[in-house]
Amino acid sequence: MHTIPAIFRSKRVLTRVASTAVLGMLLTGCTTTTPTTSTGSTPSATATSTAAATTTANAGTVVAATEAFTATLTSDQLASLSQEYTLENAEAWSNLPQAMSRNRVGLQLSELDDSQLTALGTLLQAVTGTTAGEGYDEIQQLLNADDYIADNGGSSDYGSGNYFIAFLGTPSDAGTWELQFGGHHFAVANTYTDGVLAGATPSFRGVEPFGTFEQDGETNAPLESEQVALAAVLASLSTDQLASAELDSVYQDLVLTPGNDWAFPTASEGVQVGSLSADQKALVLAAIATYVNDINDADAATILAKYESELDETYVSYSGGTSLTEQDDYIRIDGPSVWIEFSMQRGIVLSGNHPHSVWRDSITDYGGTQQ
């Protein structure tokens, strides 16, 4: 079993300390709408719900990082990495372990040596956020989680060697291409058009085991921030608000699972965020931020500003218990463009419940590519 070298995880502690302040600020209701580190974001694009959440914050940087990575690869590896930009390839992600996946495309991490993995780590850092427990830190913890499954009763279908990196189309500041990175319980999809992030979804996270666990000397608790932030939303709701938020049906899994693309419900269910207090709204936005902050900080700020502008038209609904720790506990945030689901399920390889979660965007999923 080939695992990611320690260097792939080197920034975890630093990023955790550095960005606790950001999370704290969001949780107290002081939401950031102006990016502090941007190199030219386009806030005007966030004004309407139909416009794509786009930013030029990272233009050039990502392409440079892709080139640094590809420079370390052999021609065979490069051939696996480089895929056509088609919706079929973009939809070829899965939340299932490798043996059950729907034919992931790209280059498998078990094919990479340590220096190539380091270059990949640098690339992933360029496209992901620095918030503790989110972004790059979360990626490392989720890879650790899959290694943990592999070491504790899972088959060789689990483990960080079973993740794939793919470039759909050619990384460039002109035209459209997608950076795809994923494996079991995990999907990152960043679509760039003319050097601008045109879509950061579908974005899937799940984790088994859920809760704190040790792996390779690291303490991990991925998706805990998501679960805590979402449970805080439900905890803040009054009895009446909870009654409007509760769904009639039982949800054992996500609704918009891999393969169920462009199938957003036409009607929203639950309690409308516009009817909530300012503090409650801030909690909803903070929960959304635990997903959006997986994207690099400047792009995340832009996307979050858009979701904030749509917050009053956003709905929160849930099913099962409000703690989001028991089997069949389920919560959904459904806005004019944002779509987040979190579902607590029984264990598969290990005992104890484990969550699946997806962030989609009804406008910019797959960069807006529908066919």
């Binding site: 059950m100 039982v250 054992q252 899994d253 918009l256 957003f264 419900p265 009607a267 269910e269 598969i348």
Partner: protein, 471 residues
């Protein structure tokens, strides 16, 4: 005429698909699913249901505890009533079907990635209203899924003889939440046209697949063929009439086998008790005898009678398949004919694939070791099966069961070997030039030149089949 062409095409496609081992892709799903499997009998249907216990409990509110058989027995009326409330088929015109649910049981199930779970199985009998088309209806099934909207119900049809589905399942669709509308979309079932012709052709395919998948039947047939070209070789002395004699001989062996298995196939399918274990043991014995015969003739000249006898035994094994389809009289006759036709066609394919290289190789020194090794290996496999079928499981039998996929490669290797031998033979003839007048045998058949050369070299063993009159 057109139907004949279609039949020929169907058979060809069927043979190609079976040889290539075409398999349907599996769909992955980590949550346990429910299944509904329809079985069509002319005017009414049965549905076999499988429902995960925890989901049924969660959706119905019926307390089944850990899902033990005793707990189900204490609540079976409630469970049957719950299922019936959520299983209401309707004809296109709106007429409600009658549904009765029984045979409730607990079973252990497992799907890809789910690990083992407890499931309830049940049988539902579905009767359409008078005059309604039993093949086109709205399934009206939303057990579990009415409440657990992330649940999925996979619906398929199995044993729809006149619709061409026998001993296999055809997916009809999945009942699940339509995420756009938020509704559970009802599943419209259209089983398609039904005809005796469709039933017949599907039985032909079934016959083909029974030979294709039956390693023991294949081996039996191949072992019977192994000494056949030696009779041809023996006849070689008599000149050009030899091939016709050989073909007649093989044809009569095949026909005798066919007549034998048709008789018992019909009797068995009509209800003649056929103790399966005894039949399987006798089949292993027949393979063993065929292997011994290929090594040293023990029933030369009586092959036709022996083949007919073996056919009687093999037919009993096939009959279990037909009996399981619960067919009506007319369907049964057509099925018997179609099933037999499929078996014959596949046997014909095996003969056509294997006999030519055997005939070529039989004229070389290589055939004796080939025949002995092949017959020996078959004999060992037969002994393994024999032991397994009387109750002593063993690795030889398991290995023999697993050689299905290998047979195609064996045929390819046989052809390559035969082509090489033939090529060398031609090459040798070219080097040697016109035949020498002192050749010991008539050499009107070009491939016999190789053996002539070997005959002239006393150091090489030469295969000679015993003449029937010597036995």
């Amino acid at each position: 005429m057109k139907k004949l062409a279609v039949a020929a095409l169907t058979v060809l496609v069927g043979v190609a698909a079976l040889i290539l081992g075409v398999a349907a892709p599996a769909s992955a799903h980590v949550l346990p699913t429910s299944t509904v499997v329809l079985e069509v009998h002319g005017d009414d249907l049965d549905a076999q249901l499988r429902i995960p216990v925890t989901d049924l409990v969660s959706a119905s509110g019926i307390g089944l505890g850990d899902g033990t058989a005793a707990e189900l027995a204490a609540h079976d009326d409630e469970v049957a009533a719950y299922i019936a409330r959520h299983f209401e088929p309707e004809s296109e015109t709106g007429g409600a079907w009658t549904v009765s649910v029984d045979n409730l049981a607990i079973t252990t199930a497992e799907e890809s990635g789910t690990s083992e779970y407890q499931a309830i199985t049940a049988a539902a009998h579905l009767v359409p209203p008078d005059g309604a088309d039993p093949r086109v209806f709205d399934l009206g099934y939303d057990v579990v899924v009415h409440r657990i909207v992330t649940h999925a119900v996979l619906v398929s049809v199995r044993n729809d003889w006149s619709g061409g589905v026998v001993e296999s399942a055809r997916g009809l669709g999945t009942i699940r939440l339509d995420t756009v509308t938020g509704e559970i979309a009802p599943l419209a079932v259209d089983l398609g046209d039904a005809s005796a012709w469709t039933g017949f052709t599907s039985m032909v395919s079934l016959g083909i697949s029974h030979i294709r998948e039956g390693v023991d039947h294949q081996l039996f047939l191949l072992t019977l063929l192994l000494p056949a070209p030696l009779l041809v070789a023996a006849g070689r002395w008599a000149g050009p009439t030899v091939p016709r004699t050989a073909v007649t001989r093989i044809a009569s062996i095949t026909v005798a086998f066919t007549i034998g298995h048709s008789v018992t196939l019909a009797l068995g399918a009509l209800g003649l008790p056929a103790p399966q274990q005894l039949v399987e043991v006798l089949i292993a014995v027949s393979i063993l005898l065929a292997a011994v015969h290929a090594i040293r003739p023990i029933f030369a000249g009586r092959e036709v009678v022996v083949a007919a006898g073996f056919g009687l035994v093999h037919g009993l094994a096939f009959s279990a398949t037909l009996a399981g389809l619960h067919l009506s009289g007319g369907q049964f006759v057509l099925s018997l004919f179609g099933f037999n036709l499929g078996i014959e066609l596949m046997q014909l394919v095996v003969v056509a694939l294997v006999l030519p290289p055997l005939i070529v190789l039989a004229r070389t020194w290589a055939y004796r070791p080939l025949r002995l090794v092949a017959a020996g290996a078959t004999g060992v496999a037969a002994i393994g099966w024999l032991a397994q079928r009387v109750g002593f499981g063993n690795p030889i039998a398991s290995a023999a069961d697993g050689i299905e996929g290998v047979s195609l490669y064996l045929v390819v290797m046989l052809w390559i070997a035969a082509l090489i031998v033939f090529g060398l033979d031609q090459h040798w003839r070219f080097l040697k030039g016109p035949l020498s007048p002192d050749a010991r045998f008539s050499t009107r058949h070009p491939v016999s030149l190789g053996i002539e050369r070997l005959e002239q070299n006393p150091g090489q063993p030469v295969e000679r089949a015993p003449h029937p009159s010597n036995v």
